[in-house]
Amino acid sequence: MDDLIQEFLAETNESLNALDLDIVKLEQNPNDKDLIGRIFRLVHTIKGTCGFLGLPRLEKLAHHAENVLGRYRDGSLSVTPQSVTLILESFDRIKMLVAGLEAAGAEPAGDDADLIVRLDEVYEGRAAAVAPPLVEPSTKPPAPVVEADEFGFVPVPMDTDFVPTAVMSAPAATPVVADAPASPSMAVATPAAPKAAAAPEEASKSLRVSVEVLENLMTMVSELVLTRNQLLQIMRQQTESAFTAPLQRLNHVVSELQEGVMQTRMQPISNAWGKLPRIVRDITVEVGKKINLEMRGAETELDRQVLDYIKDPLTHMVRNSADHGIELPADRKMLGKPEEGTILLNAFHEGGHIIIEISDDGKGLDTERIRAKAVEKGVISEEQARALTEQQVQQMIFAAGFSTAEKVTAISGRGVGMDVVRNNIEKIGGTIEMRSVLGRGTTFTIKIPLTLAIVSALIIEVAGERYAVPQLSVRELVRLSNGSEARLEDIHGTPIMRLRDSLLPLVSLRKILKLGDEETEPTRPRQVIVAQVGAYQFGIIVDRVFDTEEIVVKPVSPILRNLRIFSGNTILGDGSVIMILDPNGIANTVGDVSSMAKAQAEIDHIQDSSARKTPLLVFRAGPGAPRAVPLSLVSRLEEIAVGKIERSGQRRVVQYRGKLMPLIPFSETMDLKNAGVQSVLVFSERDRVMGLMVDEIVDIVEEHIDVQLTADNSFGLLGSAIIHGQAMDVIDVGHFLSIAQADWFGGPAGLAPGADNGKSVLLVDDSPFFRNMLAPMLSAAGYTVRAVNDALEALQLAKTDTHFDVIISDIEMPGMNGFDFARAVRAKDSKWLKVPLVALSSHATAKDLERGREAGFDDYIAKFDREGLLRAVNRIGQLHSEVA
């Protein structure tokens, strides 16, 4: 049965039972306004709910009963015993219908014309039941007329519709009417009772507990959790204690209790979107659209507190999608879309979070126009606007000042109140992201925590004070030291961190919290918390990071509510109070989202200039400078005991993962160890593996490689590059692989061009290093490779009608970048419109993937994933030849 109906049943049964007593009281005290008011409200609620749930019979009956009660309530009609009887009868009928609904899952067939006619008579003042108020004298004589009247009208409606009804589904009601003159209320109540009695069975499975009780329980459990944490902390300092075992037990019990109490606060998300179908329907009727609202994962449960917070944002977004996102049927038809638009709500759990997606297949956001508007309004400069990625532009609709003051919303049709939506979601530690493709629709992804009461938090220290940072917003921790991969740099004095291939803006918590002087700040910050707020990441510099702790979030005192930087406070295991930092608040402190976007654009710009940073493994082998090899070509680093190395003729092999792996010395002249362990770089090429013996692995560095090619690569060198200010040889892995294969099979080099498969590949990459690495590999796989060093050169080829089966293109290239190249290839008049495109990039995040797809790439491969590239090329090549 529908959850909503079930809830309605439980609620109605409960109210009806409670009112039984009230109605009896009403009979004794017919002018009790409170009582009438209470009864009126219940009937009104039933009417409203039934209308919503599509229960016409109940709705109709409740409507007419409400009319009568309404007149009683406003005093225009006095309550008589007869009318109490009528109300009771109506209630019994409602109970009967509810019982039928509960038993069968649907309203019993038939109607209630008999009762309705009588109710209407009373309502319109025609019925005698109205006449004799108990307290005031009346013109009409009381009881006898009532009886006569009831008796009098009974046969008329009965004959027409009540009798057949009674036979079919409401036999219980029949004797009522027949015996009506004697004691109508009694008669009705008795037959109806057995059916109504069924109600408690259903209702008793669940119990209604006031929220307050649950909140109290939760508070107590929170305290218990804190006390447990405290005890555990003390125990950690004791090596042996008689308390250890019972404390462990307590620990488990408390955890389970916590879980159990949390469970009581859980509600299915359908509670938050129950009203949405109606809202969407209203909009469709109002503006003449066709919209299908699809809801998935309605049973996903989340904390009722969280539910309260997201109810309004959800409604707002769905309304937005229906109102502005989905086009009119005619427009949709013109665009080749189905006339009926779809709004999809999807909720699911994902690792301690709830993900809610709201997507529509409407017109999407027009980023160009937002961009233009932003420039026009002077929010950002033209240059900045160009530098902003699609996604950053889209994020602008979330900016408060932007959407309202700048009226961007008017042109995009979106954004009104999106800042409020974002605020609400961020208030509960959630994030909202949006992806939109012009003409294809918009998807909002909301990520929210399961619960707010107890969260896992990272305890950090700055200037001797401890703070908690909710784990939810922490992406990673980076220790800054001389040897670490992350480096600290600055742009005009603003600290920026290089982390792998991205740059992060940094904020110093010490500065933000105004703790200590700048002079006292350690010259080298010790730890950086990489925090994520919405789509933006930034680093927070702290002095120390302790461990994570489950903390109970308590709201900050009302006199400190303006400190947006704190989302609450808590008591730690050692009993001290600490403040909980709010990364959203910190982000807001350093600047609003649009300035974050600016910073991001600046960073992207910088990244462009140092785009091809490649992690390199630096090792020593033989005399001379260290050598380098791109880290991603190396499958594993191994240390193999010299004793395990076996010799087979000139060759050295080792048993490795159940296979024999050939070992090649980097150079024949190098001294190999006789004892101890041998450092080996393991390379694999398809199913073949080989080990390269080296003297020592020195470091892993991240560098922009600009390889100066050597004319002769017979020594296994691709060329040399300046790495860490030192010239180093970059080795050619292919060379060693071929040696290994030659050794292995005793035949020619394994990487010699394979059987020509008659397919051709265009490789666009500005880096000679990669062209040299990939071209041989592709030819080895049987492709004819044409390598060019920029997109324009490639497009020239298109003009000459050169045919390719697959085009592989780098993304970051000077001049025209990969995305623009893809768009050019996918342009309407392009000769290569149908040629599959594979993107090659060192950035292969989900975002890049998405962006690549939008630009027209069919696949996206990380730069060093040679296997992946081969697979993709093969797959795509095949697919297209089949299609062709």
């Binding site: 105004k514 703790l515 005192s557 009302p558």
Partner: protein, 169 residues
């Protein structure tokens, strides 16, 4: 930790008498209705709250509840010697939250007739006039009765989102 139970009113049946817990800051005797007092504490470990108003000393843990400590000297505009002399805390509950008022010392509970109360002189410093609801003339000195609820209400920040950047900017 010194905890004294100060909740039991001494005069139960005399309606005309009111009980005040007296305390001292900077040589001035102050009083608050004893029924508002939850606890009296000695020196406490207080966690600083960065960016908070100057009179907010920080937060402390009182049996699992978080108490906001307010330096009454600062709150009443006495800026001299604020840290050194303040050692005792009077914990009060206001609208469901606990606050601890940090004072120099805590005195006895006085039961005073309601009709002996006088309005504070209009010439008082504005901060004091705002929070001193009435005064009593004792033999030795003057007792100023503080309106703690009003004071805390003044400090309370309503839950609106008027200022996005807060005070931290």
């Amino acid at each position: 930790m010194t905890e004294t139970t100060s909740q039991a009113p001494r005069s139960v049946n005399i309606d005309a008498n009111r009980d005040f817990l007296t305390m001292m800051i900077d040589g001035q005797l102050l009083g608050i209705p004893v029924l508002q007092v939850q606890d009296v504490l000695g020196p406490q470990r207080v966690t600083r709250v960065p960016l908070a108003p100057a009179e907010v000393e920080g937060s402390l843990n009182l049996r699992g509840r978080i108490v906001t400590a307010i330096n009454l000297r600062r709150r009443l505009g006495i800026l001299t010697n604020a840290e050194a002399a303040s050692t005792m805390s009077v914990v009060v509950e206001h609208r469901g939250d606990l606050y601890s008022l940090i004072v120099d010392s805590v005195g006895e509970v006085l039961s005073l007739p309601a009709d002996a109360a006088e309005t504070a002189p209009a010439t008082l410093d504005s901060l004091w006039r705002q929070h001193a609801v009435e005064i009593y003339q004792l033999k030795e000195q003057i007792l100023v009765i503080l309106d703690i609820a009003g004071m805390l209400d003044d400090m309370r920040i309503e839950d609106d989102i008027s200022n996005e950047d807060g005070e931290a900017a």
